[in-house]
């Protein structure tokens, strides 16, 4: 492979690789954005699960929104046994769910801090298992935890750069607030990433909704500019590359 050829990371999502020239560019940061209930967490975990099972790439899941127990239970529903991957050393789950914090109350925040603690926690796991894939689910939770948005924006740039520097592909999830038209609560999520995938679950009639997926940007790739049908099946998320979403 020449220095200018892009090495692709298979997403583990059937149908998605066909829309993006074979996979995400290795070592890039990819944002998966969507409103509540669009399948962001399933996609993120599927990326890690099949990354380990099919492509032998260890992964790290950093969970800020849901406790690991709930994630493992929900993913078992799609025949993805995360526990077995943890036992094999192919997956590390970093539990940063708010209820586990030892300090019950954070009474103050001065605008003079960084996220080097979070970076140290993540990199510790990345180095331990030689992770090639990292998921942070979800970035948006930090917006509610800290008031100093300017600092967070700068720190996110540093954090994502440091995680991907050694070749790991980073997938961030970002929740789009219900009435919002942007891509997250910080307004900068899309700039952090070299790729942006948006998930939809639009109401198409009084009695039904339609799921779809859009690759909004992917630097260095000729990606589809259409909005494609997507479904959540018993094996997780599946994309139909030849099917254009009826809701758009």
């Amino acid at each position: 492979m020449s220095d200018y050829e892009i090495d692709r990371v298979k997403t583990g999502i059937p149908g998605l690789d066909e829309l993006i020239e074979g996979g995400f560019p290795r070592g890039d940061t990819i944002l998966v954005a969507g409103k509540a209930g669009t399948g962001k967490t399933i996609m993120a975990n599927q990326f890690l699960y099949y990354g380990a099972v099919k492509y032998n790439e260890p992964g790290v899941l950093v969970t800020l929104e849901e406790p690991p127990r709930a994630i493992k239970r929900n993913m078992l529903r799609f025949n993805m046994d995360l526990d077995s991957l943890v036992q094999q050393g192919m997956l590390a789950i970093v539990d940063l769910y708010p209820s586990k914090e030892v300090a019950r109350v954070n009474i103050g925040e001065y605008p003079s801090f960084d996220l080097s603690g979070l970076e140290a926690i993540i990199m510790n796991h990345v180095n331990k298992i030689g992770a090639k894939r990292v998921v942070i689910d979800t970035l948006s939770i930090l917006a509610y935890k800290f008031r100093s948005r300017d600092i967070l924006r700068e720190e996110f740039f540093k954090l994502t750069a440091n995680i991907t520097r050694h070749g790991a592909t980073l997938l961030l999830t970002s929740e789009i607030p219900a009435q919002d038209s942007g891509l997250g609560v910080f307004d900068i999520e899309a700039f952090l990433a070299s790729g942006v995938v948006v998930l939809y679950n639009e109401k198409i009639s009084d009695t039904s909704r339609s799921r779809s997926i859009e690759v909004l940007k992917l630097r260095g790739s000729k990606h589809s500019s259409r909005i494609h049908s997507m479904r959540i099946t018993d094996e997780g998320i599946r994309v139909w590359p030849g099917e254009i979403s009826p809701s758009h």
Binding site: L96, E101, V102, A103, Y110, S112, F113, D114, S116
Partner: protein, 109 residues
């Protein structure tokens, strides 16, 4: 966890008046040295036996940061309360006094 003054947090004192303080820092955190100075200056007037001060360098001990759920630095934890960033001495004093009052109430019950 480094023992900085008095005894280590894990080595529990039986004296209910002693306040446990944990200071989280990292090798790359630019604000941490100043926060540590403010902390040490604030507690020095109380005398060395008033506190158990433990320093956690998360660059060397990331497991401790994960265990405590601390990822923004500097963070100072006093009792069950924490503050992030370079704190004002007045804020630290309030946290210390609040902790002492809570301990006194706890020992009376």
């Amino acid at each position: 966890m480094d023992k900085a003054a008095g005894s280590n947090v894990s080595d529990k004192h039986t004296d209910d008046t002693i306040v446990d303080i944990v200071f989280f820092k990292s090798d790359t955190c630019a604000f941490c040295p100043r926060a540590e100075e403010v902390l040490r200056e604030t507690i020095q007037d109380f005398g060395p036996s008033a506190f158990n001060l433990s320093i956690v360098n998360v660059s060397q001990n990331p497991e401790a940061a994960e265990e405590y759920g601390v990822f923004a630095l500097p963070t100072i934890m006093i009792g069950g309360i924490s503050v992030t960033g370079i704190p004002e001495p007045e804020m630290l004093m309030k946290m210390i006094l609040g902790c002492k009052i809570a301990k006194k109430r706890g020992s009376r019950q």
